[in-house]
Symmetry: C2
Subunit: 320 residues, 2 copies
């Protein structure tokens, strides 16, 4: 457990790729307010530096920095390590568990980053990648969310600003709660696909894998556009290829192409010279990759450390 | 003048390139409500068809259709011709005046079309044209409008949805009016350039031509981005080339490249492989080119015709 509250602590900020100075200042404001010392190891070049620096750390904030058995062995006082960001492949959770170190990530800090990119891709598509031809506007059009978590709600907020109508289905959020948040609840996944835009915000699970199939996509009205900033594996590749081939009005906007190069190339081939208009793939998954999202994650990490020591909060702790 | 109100009238919808069916239905709803007959000559192939069709028309709605002396001579009952759109190079205003025919256009109907495209270009630039690298968000950033007419206000409305801060200077709109519309008034053109984004919404005049020069551009803070959906001639080409060359953070997002091919190529060369990120040119001027803007213009044209006959309204009449 966290141990007593109100004690002086050392929080090591270990970032091979440093946060922006403004973000560090915000992180330090949080740790200072709690009476903790922020110790900075930024842009370090060797593992040895990290091993030396963790020796007196009670807590650690990291980014893509690797926390493995060696780091944990060198960190005799460490109680908590927080990955400032969502992905945590770089943290050896089993080793943390073995050492009694709590590991956390900072989910939900990148919602607006993703939401803004969704609109960039939607407008780029609606305006034919700025090729000089006539396009259409988003105002008054419908967008339906499969999953209505933090990211979907951030997209919804922007959609409202554009004068769009929002619909949502989330198996874990009751209809009246969705209504309260300003979207019209839809009572099935299939019901979402009656709207021009469908935006996916579900995790990749056995149930969602390849679940966005031809039957759903074919239901979409003219100009039907699937937006996928979740995981490309949620979409049934072969069905998507077929729909892109047979429906010249259909669009797919996806934050990163399928890993399967053959599927990716087949999707591109299906739209031909409309790539960048009917079909947009980011070069690497990047929806969450902004200066602001990174800053938010750093501050969230510091706050979670303070909450852990002072109040025993473990909301975002990760299981091995 | 318009003649008496409450009379039956024939409105000729003469469109070589027809409106979408939904737009025509909306236009007809306006004319029917006034007791007028909408006569449709759509997708016509020869001038002879047009000359025959205008013979009994009291009013005409056109798009890029040419209204010249021959058309006016064939239209003995014509009182008003409305170009559904902003540009009116296709209407011979002198000939209209000679025949006592009022000519109008329908300005301001494309404001949202332009505004949405502005955000598409801003996000595409902020997110490095989706190349997989980390970008930044628009939230909390500042945008300053040079000119605060219909288009600027539509951009401002979307900016508000993105959580941006708006500033504006317009020599014809008093500061308190700007404040009332939700932007912070700025008291000089130079003052606008203290903000990260500056969006141009001024007409091309002797005064504005080449007025956006190095002195102004160099004042812009880090990440300074000029957005030009007005006229590219407002920007001083040589100065822009120099700023793009010397400031690697500077961006220019422009609805259509300069006519001067040499200037255009020099701007592209200045940013190198950052074209599409730091510098975006549309292939043809297209900010106003959307389905919705065109529809809006058609309905506005019909409404202006009714207002003219029934109430003698001549607000958007054009001078030869």
């Amino acid at each position: 457990m966290a141990g007593e509250a109100g004690k002086a602590r050392t929080v090591l900020l270990a970032t091979e790729k440093a946060f922006a100075a403004a973000a560090v200042a915000k992180i330090e404001a949080v740790t200072s307010a709690a009476g903790y010392t922020l110790k900075r190891l930024e842009n370090y070049k060797s593992k040895a530096e990290l091993l030396a620096a963790v020796a007196d750390a009670d807590a650690m904030i990291i980014r893509s920095d690797k926390v493995d058995q060696a780091v944990l062995d060198a960190a005799s006082k460490l109680k908590i390590v927080v990955r400032a960001g969502a992905g945590y492949d770089n943290v050896d959770l089993k080793a943390c568990e073995g050492k009694g170190v709590v590991a956390m990530n900072t989910p939900g800090q990148n919602a607006n980053a993703v939401a803004e990119m969704v609109f960039g891709m939607m407008i780029t598509s609606a305006r034919n990648n700025y090729d000089g031809t006539s396009g259409f506007e988003l105002v008054n059009r419908s967008i339906a969310f499969y999953g209505f978590g933090a990211v979907a709600r951030a997209v919804h907020k922007l959609a409202h600003g554009f004068g769009m109508k929002s619909f949502a289905y989330d198996p874990y959020i009751p209809a009246d709660k969705i209504k309260e948040m300003g979207a019209t609840p839809v009572d099935s996944v299939a019901g979402l696909f009656e709207h021009q835009y469908v935006s996916l915000h579900v995790p990749l699970t056995d149930e969602t894998k390849s679940s966005i199939n031809k039957a759903l996509l074919q239901k979409m009205p003219k100009g039907g556009t699937l937006i996928n900033t979740a995981r490309c594996e949620v979409v049934h590749d072969a069905d998507m290829i077929e729909v892109l081939k047979t429906r010249s009005d259909f669009c797919y906007l996806c934050d990163v192409a399928p890993d399967d190069k053959e599927a990716k190339d087949a999707m591109k081939a299906a739209v031909g010279d409309k790539y960048g208009k009917r079909l947009i793939f980011t070069a690497k998954k990047m929806g969450a990759q902004t200066l602001e999202a990174n800053d938010n994650c750093g501050v969230a990490a510091a706050s979670q450390i303070v909450g852990f020591f002072e109040k025993g909060e473990t909301r975002f702790s990760l299981k091995a």
